[in-house]
Structures are given as C-alpha cells and as structure tokens.
C-alpha cells in the first residue's frame, strides 16, 4: 500500500512522555498506541484535533508551529493575520486598537483581522446555496480538523465538503494582492498567521485541495498572547477604539465560534461543536438517516475556535468578550451607516482563486487496497477479537480489544500483548514468565516494572 505523507502539528516529545496512555484513551480516531514506553501517533489516522494534547498530564504533547522570530530577516514587510478569538483573550478594557498596536510594536508593519474576509465568504454562501446540483448537506470547510476527520473516518462524505478556501486563506490572498502594487517584492512580504489550534497549522502548511498556501509563517496564539499582554500592561497607549474604524459586518467576528456561520447558508442548517458531537452526527448522516439538511457548520472544538487548544484564555470568557465587541461594533456601524469593506472591492478577483480541488478520502481505516485480502484480514480480526476479553483495558497498548486484533493482523502486535491471554498462555506453558515480562516491557518500556521488586509487599518498595 503506498502511503501518502501526511503532515501533522500534534507531536509527542518521547523524552518527556511516560507512556501513561491518557491520550490513547481520548483519541476519537484511535490513532494512538503505546510502544516502547511512549505514545506513538499514526499519521494516517490523526486529524490534529488536539484532544490528546488537552489530557496529557506531562505536557509531552506539543503543537509544532513556527516561532515568532522566523523569517524576521527575510521579510521587509511583515503582516500579522490575527483571528478575532485572539482579541477575545484579553479583558475588554484593552481595546482592539491597543492590542493591534502592541502587535505592531513586536515588529509587524500591518495587523489584519482574519474575519475581515468573512464578508466575502458570506457572499459566496449566498451564491452556492442557490446551486441545485451541489451535494447536500454542504459541509463547511472552515475547521481543518473536521475536514480531516471526514477524510479519515467518513470517506463517503468527502464530496459534501465545501470546496471553498477558509477566511484566513482569502485574507492572505487579499493582502498579497493589495501589496503587489507597492515596491516591495512579493518574497519580501511575510504573512504571519496566529493560530488557535494545531489543525490550522496543518491547513496552512499542507492545505487540502490547494497546491500551496498563501501564508508564510504560522505561530501559536499563546506565544503572541504572552508578548502582547506584557506590552499592554507596560504601555499606556491610545485607548481610542474609534480611531481605526472597523470595516466589516459586526457578526463576522463571531464566525469562528459556533452558530453564526450557519445563518448565512440558506435553508435548513445545523451548527455542531465538540469532536464527539461532530462524530455522532456524521455517523448518522453517513448512515443515510438524514436527507433534508442543506448546510452543516462543524467545529471539533467546544465553543468553536474559542475552545482551540492553544487559545490561552477561558473559552466561555472569550465568547462573551467577542459578543461584547460585536455590540460595540454594531453601535459604531450604526453611526457610520454603511459598511465599507475594502476587501470586497476585490471580490471578483478573489472568487477566481477561492475554490479548492475536490477533497478525497484518506486511507486510515482501510485494511488493504485489495478487497479480497481486506476481507480475509477482517475475518481474522473477527476471530482474534472473539478470543479477547472485550474489556478495552488498554494494558496491551491499544485503546480497544478490537484495535489490538487489528494491530495483530497488520503485523504490529501479537496475541500475547493481552494480559489476560498471557495468563492462559503461561498456565498452558506456551509462554514463560520471562517472555511475558519482556512483552510488557516491549509495550510499556524497559525498566517500567523495576519498581516492583520480587519482595513487594514485604519490604518498602524503593
């Protein structure tokens, strides 16, 4: 089987990982196994949702991003592309102007809010919703983790994914366009995107259905947050938020949260957030149980991007603050009467480049390319599984008994990995206690059992 290279931002530092298996138990795609005492992620199955990152007690799971310092020498004109949730990380006493000024102070020539591109997306939705031939429900392509989840777990729904670039891409393309008339060469313009999550890093590094990304550097929001917060506390900068008049419709800033996007696709639509909720719904959708829905807005994080794994603040506070900001924007827009979004002047040009290629399934679930061989493997898995206890205890290093059976058939494990089977094999002299010991060490790491000396219970264990 040829395996395409899948890029991931969720990584495990095996120096820190103690192989405790917390991550293995929460991964919805069953991408994690414990091998040699460490967690190991299968690239075919991981969708960069970050659920494993949330539960790791050792902080051994990290998000591989670029550093803020990257490219500082190469770029003459640096643009910070900042999503609205970033502004929601700060108490409302700090205005967007103050926060933007602080970002500029860090060496950026321009600060651009990603959601400025949402007016364009809204206009596209209006057009797309009229298309009678499009496969329904149309599934939003906004959350890259949702897109990958569908590619891995729900292959028959890939054709429902909207073939439209997300707002951060549209914003980046627009920024390149308006700066192309200046005397700075394109390669001297650096677009830095500040991400709330791992999935957006992957989307910017290896976008699905696009040949290359218009974004140069992706930095986790946390790094920017710490630097900006420091400046905000030190600075007594201008508080006048009115100075920089906003030029987008006010609810655009809620786009990445849950519930706003769906309102802009005509017809019956649903907004679903949280990875388990999303999976549950896609499951019934793929089973053909739902037929008359037009649009699905899906986010793997609870509360949408406010719940992103590298958002430093509390998600509910962020949602509330973004709501407050929307109110302020609305009032201001009332005074100005009309919204003039300069990005929309480029709508025609943007439309030409906004489409992505069809999204195709990944091979994470396939047992074999050949149906006949796959069926044979499946029969073996079924047999093996019937010998396993079905407790899903995880002591074999796989999240479920069924997963162990699959791993055995794939040649990555053996029946003796199951501690219950081990007992029986020892009783029947099929496995020596020494072999059983080595098997446990192979999964949970060398010396893992050292603290249980022979005399446990008699003397204090060191």
């Amino acid at each position: 089987m040829t395996t395409p290279q899948y890029i991931h931002a969720i990584q495990i530092d095996t120096e820190i990982c103690i192989g405790c298996s917390h991550c293995m138990r929460v991964c919805s795609t069953q991408a994690i196994r414990i091998v040699d005492g460490h967690a190991s992620i299968s690239p075919e199955r991981c969708v960069d949702c970050g659920e494993c990152y949330r539960v790791c007690p050792m902080e051994a799971i990290y998000v591989k991003d670029d550093r803020l310092a990257k490219g500082s020498k190469d770029y003459i004109y640096k643009i910070a592309l900042v999503p609205a949730v970033f502004f929601g990380q700060f108490p409302v006493k700090y205005s967007v102007t103050q926060i933007s000024d602080a970002i500029r102070e860090l060496g950026f020539n321009e600060v651009f809010e990603v959601e400025q591109a949402v007016d364009f997306i809204k206009s596209e939705y209006k057009r797309i919703a009229k298309d009678k031939d499009i496969v329904r429900p149309v599934i939003s392509s906004f959350c890259p983790s949702v897109v990958r989840l569908i590619q891995v777990m729900f292959p028959s729904l890939t054709e429902n994914i909207l073939q439209l670039k997300p707002p951060h891409d549209i914003a980046a393309i627009y920024l390149r366009e308006i700066n192309s008339t200046t005397n700075i060469r394109p390669e001297e313009i650096g677009i830095y995107y500040f991400t709330p999550c791992a999935a957006k890093i992957v989307a910017a590094k290896a976008p699905e259905g696009e040949d290359e990304s218009p974004i140069d550097v992706v930095v986790s929001m946390r790094e920017l947050y710490n630097k900006v917060y420091k400046l905000l506390i030190e600075n007594k900068s201008d508080k006048d938020d009115l100075k920089r008049r906003s030029s987008m419709t006010s609810d655009s800033i809620k786009w990445s949260l849950s519930g706003t996007e769906r309102e802009y696709f005509r017809g019956r639509s649903l907004a679903i957030d949280g990875v388990e909720n999303v999976i549950q719904f896609l499951e019934i959708l793929e089973s053909g149980r739902i037929s008359d829905i037009d649009f699905l807005e899906l986010r793997v994080c609870d509360q949408g991007c406010a719940g992103g794994i590298v958002c430093p603040g509390n998600r509910f506070l962020a949602v509330e603050r973004i709501g407050e900001r929307q109110k302020r924007l609305q009032e201001r827009l009332k005074e100005n009467k009309k919204v003039l979004n300069p990005l929309m002047e480029y709508a025609k040009e943007l439309q030409k480049v906004s489409k992505v290629k069809e999204i195709t399934p990944r091979k994470g679930l396939l047992l074999d390319e050949n149906v006949e061989i796959a069926l044979q493997k499946m029969a073996k898995i079924k047999t093996l599984n019937s010998y396993l206890p079905g407790f899903d205890c995880g002591a074999c290093g796989a999240p479920t008994c069924k997963n162990l059976a699959e791993d055995i058939v794939k040649g990555n494990a053996s029946m003796s990995y199951c501690i219950f089977v081990q007992r029986i094999m020892e009783k029947n002299y099929k496995l020596s206690p020494e072999q059983a010991f080595l098997t446990i060490e192979k999964i949970w790491g060398k010396n893992r059992l050292n603290k249980y000396k022979d005399n446990y219970g008699e003397k204090e264990v060191e």
Binding site: P155, S156, E286, G288, L365, L366, A374, L375, M378
Partner: protein, 137 residues
C-alpha cells in the same frame, strides 16, 4: 464475511444500528465511497421498515470481494399488495410513526433505487423477506 443482526419492531431509538455496523465494516474495505453510501441508505430504509411495520426481524449480511448481499426477514403483518407498496409515496405507516419522521413512503422505491437487485416476498399475516444485492464496481 457474514454478519447477522436482530431488529426489534417498534424501537425507533435503535433504528439504524444494524445498517450502521455494516457501513463501518465496508469502510475498512476499498469500496468506492458512493457505493458505501448507496448501501447505507438502502439498509437504513430496510431496517426502518421492520421497525415501523413488523414485530421483529433479522438482517443477514454476506460480503464477498465483488458484492454485498443482504436479507432482511421480518415477522409481521406482511405486505398485501407489493406493487402498490413499490409506488413512491405509498405508505401504510400509522400517524404516530409518521409524526416521528419515519414512514414517508420513500422506503421501498428508495431501496430499489440504491441497489443493483431487489427481491421482495411477503405472506400477509406472517411477514416479509427482502433480499438486496449491491455490486462494488
């Protein structure tokens, strides 16, 4: 590869469980996604038919490298007029069943549309047996 599932009549909350299991299995084989979808829709409709109209039923599945064969046999009132039941929009579902969003009469014609062969036998007062085949290529 053979599988078998029991279907309980009247249990709408569990409807779709069997077809969902079959679909999960098919996803591990290299079968075109559109084909999986057709099978999923057909099996779900068939399962709901049992839940909505019969007392109990059994779904038997056989997957070969080239196709899937499924038999859904139920114990129930049966279908007195099969030709009529095949008409789009025809349904004998009770108001209660319809209110729950089931039994819009899309069942049988929809199954036929999504399968390569379909055979329906029924003995009024005893039950109905539906056999369908979908080819993978």
């Amino acid at each position: 590869m053979k599988m078998q599932f029991d279907i309980a009549g009247g249990d709408f909350s569990a409807a779709g469980g069997a077809s969902s299991e079959v679909k999960k299995t098919l996803k591990q084989l290299n079968i075109p996604p559109a084909t999986i979808r057709r099978i999923a829709v057909a099996l779900y409709e068939a399962e709901v038919n049992v839940v909505a109209h019969a007392y109990s039923g059994v779904m038997s599945v056989e997957i070969s490298p080239t196709n899937i064969w499924v038999q859904i046999a139920d114990k129930g009132p049966g279908i007195p007029n099969i030709d009529k039941a095949m008409e789009e929009g025809f349904s004998t579902a009770s108001d209660h069943v319809r209110q729950m969003g089931f039994g819009a009469g899309m069942g049988l014609p929809n199954i036929k549309k999504n399968t390569d062969s379909m055979e329906l036998k029924s003995v009024p007062g005893e039950g109905t047996t539906l056999e369908i085949t979908v080819n993978f290529n």
